[in-house]
Symmetry: C2
Subunit: 333 residues, 2 copies
DNA sequence: TTGTAGGCGTTATCAT
DNA sequence: ATGATAACGCCTACAA
């Protein structure tokens, strides 16, 4: 390691002609220091380029200020938007985000949480994957807060933020029926995460109420390419669907592109499509996708509010509604 | 704050019937411990759910394992991809990423670096913005490494990774001329970052060598919407351009969509377009954009290799080439 | 190989 | 309001 030499409170104290404690107090909001000494300290610190060592402070205060964000597929539009919002809110709350990428292999969520513990993170936010119960219990027992976004509901003590996926799916059926569609399909990935499966189940159930069957096709991960593959399967059937609900916008974009450029179908005339997430691309004029907007701002705000609150926090569950954004991929908006 | 109670090395030592130091050694690769005690310690740790406190360890070792990633516009395709790659490489190198969002206001890069110092980050990687020299010197002086990606060249002691933007721009002119284009335009944002301006300058210079003028149009930030606005300006001129080089793919997508859907132009027959970054959307069948692929993997690898190397590191500069990806937005690939 | 003692840079407690 | 002193949890000589 190269030589590291950060300036310490001692040096500031010496230069300002006060004690270490005075320096500490000058950097602690609400501590009892006279204005004159505070000024002396602040000036000395400025001149030396002193910054409080948060490693040491965290050790003492038993509060690191660190919040771990555990996530896979960061490069995905929806994920990266959520990430942006979370980091922003965290910073506003005086916290700092530690980003842990779980793209590689399974069980990596567990390893990520261990990392969170090692850095004594005040809280962890899980955006992807599902950790084992033993490790989340360890977190909770250690006093580390846990927020699960769009994850399953089985971790007591943690804060769950979910969308009402089933309700949303029901509205899609209504929209499709109103558009005169009758051959419904659902495009999903093989990921099988709770929220994705809830959309699928909700769609099927609502369709059944209308006396309609649903063709379900699943493939790969939740991306553009998977959408193309699913389109291939769906649009070569003898009984071609006239309406597809896609579990995510990325799937929808892939499916829409294939439908247009490979099968020469007009949208929404010959095929209605609804997506989920309202990623930026959904509004691009090549897509103009009717889709559900996740309340990303609200999710981030609620998450940060909960994890940065003082006092003992109980586990809790919050269900938010997704907004249906009408654009041009369904007839008769 | 709720009660926090992480298990410490003391407790592990007691349970394993050894001393604290034995515990420490058991978790230090290459320390001299007998296999039997190591096993005892590891088992006790496992049972108690012990994890080494990296705050304390960082304090002692003078090496936190933290690397700060300083970035704005995280939700942008190119940025988020780079972020994914960097976090992955960092984790492979045994480091952990601290993400600092500088979306708000100016001078926030300076604040971000101060944050990096407070957490005693081993290094900082700057993906956006440009810090004041005084603060980067403080970082360097404190022994914190600095990597600047696609930033300006004026920070000595830091590691600079840049693309050869001018060379790339030159190749675009060649491609346009070969496609029979003669009314060249450059679409840029008003951001004015070094790499963006280098692409612009390089394009103009290369065109001049061919005896060609370039219409330059700049607007807003580097996004899809700006591309639409620029298209508006460019395509309503009496002398409509027949080839546009866009500073980024996002601009290119916006411009292409406007050209097609608003001006009913065929691409590449009536208008050739080249972008930069090779974001995922560039390959989608609605765009099939000819563009430059940033060597993101190499950038991330080089950055992490440099910042995690032992010993004293000198400032250094690395220039990488961008690969031209031929797709369908230029005639005669 | 093992345990003991001292120190890393803070903050909190206690006098003054 | 200020300064000395004791933690916080860990690592690392040093001694055994």
């Amino acid at each position: 390691m190269s030589q590291r030499d950060f300036v310490s409170a001692d040096e500031v104290a010496r230069r300002a002609g006060v004690s270490r404690s005075a320096v500490s107090r000058a950097f602690t909001p609400g501590a009892s220091v006279s204005d004159t000494t505070r000024q002396k300290v602040l000036q000395a610190a400025e001149e030396l380029g002193y910054q409080v060592n948060h490693l040491a402070r965290g050790l003492m205060r038993n509060e690191s200020g660190i919040v771990c964000l555990i996530v896979s597929d960061v490069a995905t539009p929806y994920r990266s938007t959520l990430l942006r919002e979370l980091t922003l809110q965290l910073q506003l709350a005086g916290k700092v985000a530690m980003l842990i990428n779980t793209d590689r292999s399974d069980g990596s969520v567990n390893r990520a949480l261990e990392q969170a513990i090692r850095y004594r993170a005040d809280a962890s936010v899980i955006l992807s994957g599902l950790p084992d119960k033993s490790i989340t219990e360890l977190c909770l027992r250690s006093g580390q807060r846990l927020v699960l976004i769009n994850r399953d509901e089985d971790q007591s003590g943690a804060f769950h933020i979910n969308l009402d996926d089933r309700e949303a799916a029901g509205r899609v059926v209504t929209a499709f029926v109103r558009a005169g569609c009758s051959r419904l399909a659902f495009a999903n990935s093989e990921a099988g995460t709770p929220s994705l499966m809830a959309r699928e189940a909700g769609f099927i159930a609502a369709a059944k109420e209308q006396g309609l069957d649903v063709i379900v096709e699943r493939h790969g991960s939740t991306g553009y390419e998977a959408g193309r593959v699913v389109a291939q399967r769906l649009l070569t059937r003898k009984e071609r669907p006239d309406a597809v609900f896609c579990a995510t916008d990325l799937l929808a974009c892939g499916l829409m592109d294939a439908a247009r450029h490979q099968f020469s179908l007009s949208i929404p005339q010959q095929l209605c499509i609804v997506g989920f997430d309202d990623i930026e691309q959904a509004s691009w004029s090549s897509y103009r996708l009717t889709t559900f907007a996740q309340p990303i701002g609200a999710i981030a705000r609620e998450a940060v509010a909960w994890l940065s609150q003082g006092g003992v926090a109980d586990g809790r569950s919050l269900t938010l509604q997704a907004d249906l954004i009408w654009r041009d991929s369904v007839r008769g908006g």
